[in-house]
Symmetry: C3
Subunit: 340 residues, 3 copies
């Protein structure tokens, strides 16, 4: 793809050689003469001058002396567009591997299935979806079109997954929730009969676990992105376009709104409600039943508003001073007392 | 199953139509006229009046106008009993899938084995156990009767598992513990030759890891329930009827008593001893070698008694006030000094 | 193997029966008359007097009355050497299982491959490496010699792994990093085109996730040991001979030096730089962009120097006293005021 064509595609302003052929994508430091990269921010633009990249996407009104650049409003977003165009998506091998075990009643429309995948009775998979090697789709699972299930994904019976969903290896969807009733000196398992429902355009990382609902459903809304090793318990409801970083744990019946951003290793207690556009800092802990109001940012355990957390932290750091002052005051007070 | 029969089964007091046929189980909000549900607590009982459920399990001495109810001591427990009766457990497909690889010396008594499961030499599986698709049982693994190993479970050589144990997908039992000796500028692996022993009635969630002992064994006692993504290190000993929530990590040689309840994302350091009936709040951290006394409840990092933790937290929140007061006192003291 | 031979092997000083035959290894409490064990520290040496072990490795200049012992500089290290000699490494079954799916272009030199493993086009595996049952090596993966990949490991296309690397079950190497650009009300996936490069002598636990780089590579240096359920994000660079305990999460583009020791459940924010020989306490949290200086030890969230953390913690525990003192001072100050 020529630089000129890429400039047109991303709607940007080109400087330098429009005829240069671009065949790959790389980072600013490593990109070679047939690769495109991007530079955003003062430091990156400085580095860009020394880059060997064939073409650099830069912010509007910036240019880099001696380099072929395309100036756009959002260079990182433009790189996404350029990448999709340059690397025409790796064509999936067509067809179904001879070793895949597919139940007679499963319906697969123009689908790729890898070696040793197991697709049980009543499964329904939409067009152009790809089921990786060793993946297991149990009875009645529904998968939309254009999905990618990477190797070794396991989906328990009845889960429903939308279109353009990506699930990475080792992730388990629809296992029983963790619910017991304690009686007669032991834990009795509460029925885990609900489903997992995942909407379109969701991406789920590796080795994540999303449990089925106990009586209702566990739900993940459209466009939400979930990282590796995340735990989503039974009956959790997550809205649209959220981002949930690695190793976060979300307890039973938590409700999360839309456009919520959750850092890594966050813990959210049972029945917490998190409203739209909330931001939760990494490792924060939100106690059972709490409500986090729309648009707020919280951090710490138990989680407090970010500004309060920072203030408190500063005051904790200042404790030695405070203690010293109190000691002085006590001494002075003692002297005053004895002076009388 | 008729409402009358369910009432007899759970030993409850029926009000309303005893002849109604119940074929399923659902939540209070979604249950329809052929489904049973439960209501416990004032708010749920209020909701119950508007429910379309065919039958509602309620606490003793409560009734819900216009509804068919069964009053019992413990509605949630009664729902468990009713569910087991109504949904006669989904019959497992009989037999062994043609693609399962089973070593000639393995002994399997009336067992279900899914597609592409691998069962190595010397494995012994008790009656009515179910080994899911793609599960791998290595040399000499022992499994009791009536177990369910879901698809993709991996069990390393020699682990011993009791009866009625459930293990969810992606869980790895018996991998090497994490033990090294540092010498000559590198880490030398310490022998990991012990076993994992899991007693009867244990349930283990998805993608959990339980390492083998280094020289002794790692042990999980009867009736203990372990959630998803939990880490149990080498030589840990866990007692009976404990509950361990998701993403908790238990370091090497920790000893845990009976009836211990551990919240999510708790971290327990090497050689900690936790006595019977302890409760540990979510995200707590227990430093290496600590002893947590019988029946206590702890929270925070480093973990302190729950009441102390709450008091401390209140005092931390009050730090701005305290700092202000000290400032005022300093000013007053200064004035008094200058007044003299 | 005779005690005398073991003494020669580990370069130690024997006391007692040199002709005794040793066939196994066990812990101090359980070792029998044909087993070797070790005792280090006063308490263990006391216990050693009552041991039934055939031979006990003890520190130089110590002896245990009535026992056959070998005195060495480092007993635990000597046990590692003895174990390797006594338990001649379990011979791997030779050859490739008939059910393994191996692409015609894959190159395997004298390798063991288990049942239902899948090895795709362009994979290259060095001599004496072992690929467990159900493991999946995607296009172009490179594995050195003498590696052990346990069952159910998944490696995405193009990852490069050195020699003598051990990877435990359920671990996923090379899945897409978690990078999105938010625009037009949704998250656009940033290209994840880099690789994972793992050097020689690395060991990786179960169900760990190591993501590929987005544009550059994710890198793990020689001799580094990684525990279970660890998350390593895209473009992370980890040096040589580090130890990373279970459930730790390392965010994107973090740089870690050599000989770094990281406790369990640590969280490290984006672009943090950790210099050589740093120690990080369990559950610590290191905020985005921080630099932790060479040789320092840190703990807490946000992480502070260990000594400061402990001091601060003591001061927090002393808050009730401090508050009481301030109250008294206020009362006195009030009286003084009113006395005037």
């Amino acid at each position: 793809m020529k630089v000129e064509e890429i400039a047109r595609l991303v709607g940007g302003h080109r400087e330098g050689d429009g005829n240069r052929e671009i065949t790959g994508v790389a980072g600013l430091e490593n990109a070679g003469p047939t690769e495109i990269t991007f530079a955003d921010g003062a430091r990156a633009l400085e580095q860009a001058a020394r880059s060997h990249a064939g073409c650099i996407l830069v912010p509007e009104k910036s240019s880099v002396g001696g380099q072929t650049t395309i100036a756009v409003k959002h260079p990182k977003l433009a790189l996404i567009q350029a990448t999709e165009a340059i690397l025409a998506k790796a064509k999936l091998e067509a067809g179904i591997h001879a070793t895949a075990v597919i139940a007679p009643g499963a319906r697969l429309a123009d689908v790729y299935v890898g070696a040793y995948a197991v697709i049980e009775e009543g499964v329904n998979i939409g067009a152009r979806s790809s089921i990786g090697a060793g993946a297991i789709l149990r009875r009645g699972v529904e998968i939309g079109s254009d999905c990618i299930l990477h190797p070794q994904v396991t989906i328990y019976p009845g889960a429903r997954i939308g279109s353009r969903v990506v699930v990475h290896s080792g992730t388990v969807i629809g296992a029983d929730g963790f619910g017991y009733v304690f009686a007669d000196g032991r834990h009795h398992k509460f029925p885990q009969l609900g489903q997992v429902v995942i909407e379109d355009d969701v991406e789920i990382g590796s080795n994540t676990t999303i449990d089925r609902g106990s009586l209702g459903n566990t739900f993940v809304g459209q466009g939400t992105k979930i990282d590796n090793l995340v735990q989503i318990a039974h009956n959790v409801r997550i809205g649209r376009h959220c981002v949930i970083a690695a190793q976060t744990g979300i307890s039973g019946s938590v409700e999360i709104g839309n456009y919520v951003v959750i850092g890594g290793q966050v813990g959210i207690g049972d029945k917490v409600r998190i409203e739209d556009q909330v931001t939760i800092g990494a490792q924060a802990g939100i106690p059972t039943g709490k409500i986090i109001r729309r648009g707020s940012a919280v951090w710490g355990t138990p989680a407090r508003p970010m500004s309060e957390f920072k203030k408190t932290h500063a005051q904790i750091s200042n404790l030695p001073n405070l203690a010293k002052k109190v000691k002085e005051l006590s001494r002075t007070a003692g002297k005053q007392g004895s002076a009388k």
